[in-house]
Amino acid sequence: MAKLNMVEAINLALREEMERDNRVVVLGEDVGREGGVFRVTDGLQEKFGADRVIDTPLAESGIVGTALGMALYGLLPVAEIQFDGFLYPCLDQITNHIGRMRNRSRGRFICPLVIRVPYGGGIHAPEHHSESPEAILAHTPGIKVVTPSTPYEAKGLLLSSIRGHDPVLFLEPKRIYRAIREEVPEGDYTIPLGKARLVQEGKDVTIIAWGAMVREVLNAAEQLRGDKIEAEVIDLRTISPMDVEAIVTSIRKTGRGVIVHEAPKTCGLGAEIIALINEKALLSLQAPIERVTGFDIPVPLAKSEHYYLPNSKRIIMAIKKVISF
């Protein structure tokens, strides 16, 4: 079994699924001859031709709006939005059409498509290349939102996303793209949507994260072993619908929690998780849940980005705070 990074794992998933199911088409800016700015779709156009791996004009609403039309006709489009910051121009199509087509037509018309978006910070990119829009998407009915945290996860979650019957926003933590290698099997395996992953068991505190933050959290958890703090780490995997069960079960056990995300703090997904815990496990809480998040400011340019991103130091501080509360 080959050790792959996340870019290769997603590429493999696409390749295999396109072979298996000729309804799958890939479209987006630079996904064809260039193979994507991150090379996620590398080689796919050579293999499947320009009718199935399609370079589009530079127009995000155009990409997802036409993908919707394709899906209505029975294709399974996997659209790429080149960077998180360029998702906003197509939010109208996502919110007002993609998330509503099934409901609006009483089930007659559906658009099970996947929109892949490299997201998040940590690669010293220019402005608008480091955004984390998951909370906005989770607030949007009718779509699912998925964030893999490792190469293995990415392949299994992407296959489920393509095969599901609902539209999926597939947020790929670009910082992890080449940062981790792990064994990724060839051939079919899927990871169900809506189920969180218990990355590590622990009894003292629950840490909830997703995407690139899972790695930061594991670093922090590792460092805390010296302090005899056993952290339970949950990788949310699916942002919407969320695995409330997994969160609540863990909080009931540990009584303490820290949520880590890159998005701005206010109205980030962390807030929703706290609200759910408030509703379902308030009496188990032995300390306020801590949020380690981005700030309510635009993600700074490269030289100041490190101030913005949650890191293991901040995570450790938060864990110690909830534990010593």
Binding site: G69, L75, R102, R104, S105, G142, P241
Partner: protein, 356 residues
């Protein structure tokens, strides 16, 4: 395609066959038989009556906001009439005529405007999308579906209906551009009814015609008299055949006029003077057809009255049927959000039931 060259938008001509006085343009002939014309006239009349009924129902508080098509019957009936089974229609929100032509029952249309979710349900064999409220956004769907069909090798066409106002939206541009690049079998049918709510065509865009916007995307555009059923039939047919045979998209600008209010929520006297409406009245698409058909002995006041009475009875029944449909149950609003209801939606639904 001779027609699109002859009427290249920069030539400043508007394609017309049937003149307002019911006679034909020189060297023109009707595109279909007189019997067929009579048949389509009846459709138009039925549609006008149904449209008027909707307005009345709204005023009686029996229907919600409704967007009347009064004056736009030729655009909708003529364009829909040349489509085939397997073709796909993407309406905006003022397409009672076109969608009825394609097989959406009037009852469904009324249910929709009555605010009943059931009115959004199209039957499986009718390729008409539900009403699309966000202006200018749905042509992209028509492009995407046509594109998909082309990739699959299916010779179908897609048609998107929209207004003059919609042409200002970014999504209209992106749809036109994708259609041009990927040569999708798409007809962009713009019903230029001179207004977007209160905003007149002159403020909507500085281009002389809407048809000429096609030139920005490398495909044909044509301005036609949208109140002339024959012109609509011919131009749409030409565009449909071109699209079906791989010739790519066409933009058709049907010049017409919205005789009624924008919607029942609107008071057009605020922004539109009577003097402005007057010149349009004799251009009404029904009048010239009546004149033409009378000449052929197919129309008379009496025929009109008989048909109208029958149609009104049919519409009475439709209204009755629609009003008999119960308001949807509470499950109905949760059921179609996802393929399978998520556990959190199940929880929300269960909670909601406890509060009723």
């Amino acid at each position: 395609m001779g027609l699109f060259e002859d009427y290249h938008p920069l030539k400043g001509k508007t394609f017309q066959i049937l003149k307002p006085d019911g006679t034909l343009q020189p060297d023109s002939k009707p595109p279909i038989s007189d019997q067929e014309i009579f048949h389509l006239y009846q459709k138009m009349l039925f549609i006008r009556l149904a449209d008027q009924r909707a307005l009345i129902l709204q005023r009686q508080g029996r229907m919600g906001t409704y967007a009347p098509i009064w004056g736009q019957e030729a655009c909708q009936v003529g364009s829909a009439a040349v489509l085939q089974k397997g073709d796909w229609v993407f309406p905006a929100f003022r397409e009672l005529g076109a969608t009825l032509m394609m097989g959406i029952p009037l009852k469904t249309i009324f249910l929709y405007w009555m605010g009943n979710e059931e009115g959004s349900r199209a039957s499986e064999d009718v390729n008409v999308l539900p009403v699309s409220i966000p202006v200018g956004t749905h042509p992209l769907h028509a492009v995407g579906l046509g594109w998909a069909a082309r990739l699959k090798g299916d010779a179908i066409v897609t048609i998107a209906y929209f207004g003059d106002g919609a042409t200002s939206k970014g999504d209209f541009h992106e749809a036109m551009n994708f259609a041009g690049v990927f040569k999708t079998p798409t007809i962009f049918f713009c019903q230029n009814n001179q207004y977007a709510i209160s905003v007149p065509r002159s403020i909507q865009t500085a281009s002389k015609t809407i048809a000429q916007k096609a030139m920005a995307y490398g495909f044909d555009g044509i301005q036609i008299d949208g109140n002339d059923l024959f012109a609509v039939l011919v131009a749409t047919k030409e565009a449909v055949e071109k699209a079906r045979s791989g010739g790519g998209p066409t933009l058709i600008e049907g010049v017409t006029f919205r005789f009624g209010p924008h919607t029942t929520a609107d008071d057009p006297t605020k922004y539109r003077k009577d003097e402005e409406i007057e010149p349009w009245k004799p251009l009404d698409p029904m009048i010239r057809l009546r004149l033409y058909l009378k000449e052929k002995d197919l129309w008379s006041e009496e025929v009109e009255q008989r048909f109208t009475e029958e149609a009104q009875k049919d519409i009475d029944q439709v209204v009755k049927d629609a009003e008999a449909v119960p308001a949807p149950g509470v499950e109905e609003i949760f059921k179609y959000v996802y393929a399978e209801m998520t556990s959190s939606l199940k929880e929300q639904l269960a909670y909601l039931k406890t509060t009723l």
